[in-house]
Symmetry: C2
Subunit: 327 residues, 2 copies
């Protein structure tokens, strides 16, 4: 049900999302077929476009009477492109084979074009940032991009380390995911000259939504089906990433079960049998419902950030975006 | 001798170059040892810093009485960081083992951290661009970065293709190398409110210098020693890149010798023996002196772009930078 809402919201921004895609497409040089092919592959696979959608919803929340103006559209494009560039490089780093129910670019064309096309898309994100025409916004987005890369490097050093603390985990997902959501919401408010109070509220909403988004992502990687996920589940486990379900498991499990999973994670080559085994052990401690409980708390916290905004269709839509994440 | 001049210029900008390094260092997060280690490795290997040096020399050429102001310094930092990020990703793409007489980052830490640290440095370049505080400059540099990535992708599709035309080659080296030199010089002029005429002259000088720089790079990869090059020569050949020496060779060589080299290049695994053989065939057609002759012409063209500027110490230093490139 919740995803029906997300679909409705996407339809309500159809014109803007198409414009966003067209704006980006016109920038792609005509004389570089390889670049064009890879970019088309990524764009055609779509994705939920959740970042541009919340950027536009925050704009509407603050000035519901206004049409989505160019600065908001450029901001939404820049944010989506930062995210897309990150995906391309992440897939290389994680040796991913699938993305959004399609083969990943690195799997089809190899790592080299994926790295360079990622750089191209990242540069394009800066071109759109510049079009927003606001040095303050540029500063925020440049810092957010640096923070994403910093966190991705940090994530590499944390792989296979089973003693990750809650604080480390939270810091990591803020840096790699949530800060971009926060920046999108905050900058959207800035383009509309929102009051300092509303700008701060938008920022906090974005941050909490981003954390929620990553928690749900981590949940799905253990408990979702391949069909819903657009790729095989278990990636985090196979890469040695310690995420929310394992953190919750480690707090509750008996020593012998802890040991089994720790040994698996320290090993750098996990098998599919290991993943089956791990899900069975997680089941024993009701890790799935524990994770859902944890996520629901973050969901409530995120929704609470909207309290300051007056009631409107757009506030309802933002609530629905939040609720749709665990669908 | 020419490099003695470059050394002198570097010393004359010692304070500024140190400040540039300090500015960047203070941005590196304290709690990410892996990032810190890789960044230190790259920065300690130094490089010639030719891009920041010409950025500052152009500023001095236009306003010799002024100290290098913060916007010029930030611009110089941004340009050097764009270049550094590109190097990290290039080394991954080219499977390089060495860079600046040191092991390459990808060889020491693997491809994954190199990709992500490259992204981090690239984001940092944008942070410094924003500090320049000029939307026009940001636009130029964002477009230049996109053009670099676009050209690097194009270069991938051109590998092992022996029918590269002069126009294609020139377009490629402009995009991947010369445009950044042009942008550095042009933006430096912009920060000093130079006249449109001088801004254009700085731009053209930078573009020609950048082309010259790449031509010399291509020359050295065939005709320089490992000691001078900081890495083994022959990389372009091993990667299947068709560069200036081969383009000149193809214009002059007899059919049978052309065939030998074409067959080698189409083959995706070249041996060291192949490289020895190729240098012998190139010798037969005096390709080295042909290449030098071609480069000297570009050198003259580059120097000519300085005519418009009044005589000064800084003009002499810029001339010396140009002359030092073929040392």
């Amino acid at each position: 049900m919740a995803n029906k809402y997300l679909e409705e919201i996407t339809i309500s921004f159809k014109t803007e999302l198409e414009k966003l895609q067209t704006n980006f497409n016109t920038n792609i040089p005509k004389n570089n077929p390889l670049l064009k092919k890879i970019v088309s592959h990524i764009l055609s696979s779509g994705g939920k476009k959740i970042r541009p959608i919340i950027t536009m919803l925050i704009a509407k929340l603050i000035a519901s009477e206004k049409k989505i103006a160019d600065p908001v559209l450029h901001l939404a494009t820049a944010v989506e492109l930062i995210h897309t560039a990150t995906l391309l490089h992440d897939d290389v780093v994680d040796n991913s084979k699938q993305r959004r129910n399609k083969l990943s670019a690195n799997f089809v064309w190899g790592n080299k074009p994926s790295i360079l096309v990622g750089d191209y898309i990242f540069s394009q994100s800066f071109i759109f940032m510049v079009l927003v025409n606001d040095l303050n916004i540029l500063k925020i987005l440049a810092n957010t991009s640096a923070e994403i890369a910093n966190s991705e490097v940090m994530q590499l050093s944390m792989l296979h380390r089973t003693n990750i603390t809650d604080t480390e985990y939270l810091q990591l997902i803020q840096g790699k995911t949530a800060n971009l959501f926060a920046a999108a919401c905050k900058c959207s408010a800035i383009t509309l000259n929102a009051s300092a109070e509303l700008e701060k509220a938008a920022d906090k909403f974005g941050l909490n939504l981003g954390i929620l988004f990553q928690l749900c992502d981590d949940y799905k990687d253990y408990f979702s089906s391949q069909e819903k996920l657009g790729k095989k589940p278990g990636n985090d486990f196979f890469e040695g990433k310690i995420t929310l379900p394992l953190l919750l498991f480690f707090k509750k499990a008996q020593d012998n079960d802890q040991q089994v999973i720790q040994d698996m994670l320290k090993n750098k080559k996990q098998s599919s049998e290991d993943f089956t085994k791990i899900t069975q052990i997680l089941q024993k401690y009701e890790t799935q419902s524990l994770t859902i409980k944890f996520i629901k708390k973050q969901m409530d916290k995120t929704l609470k950030q909207l309290d300051i905004f007056p009631s409107s269709t757009y506030k309802n839509q933002l609530r629905n975006v939040v609720l749709s994440l665990l669908d």
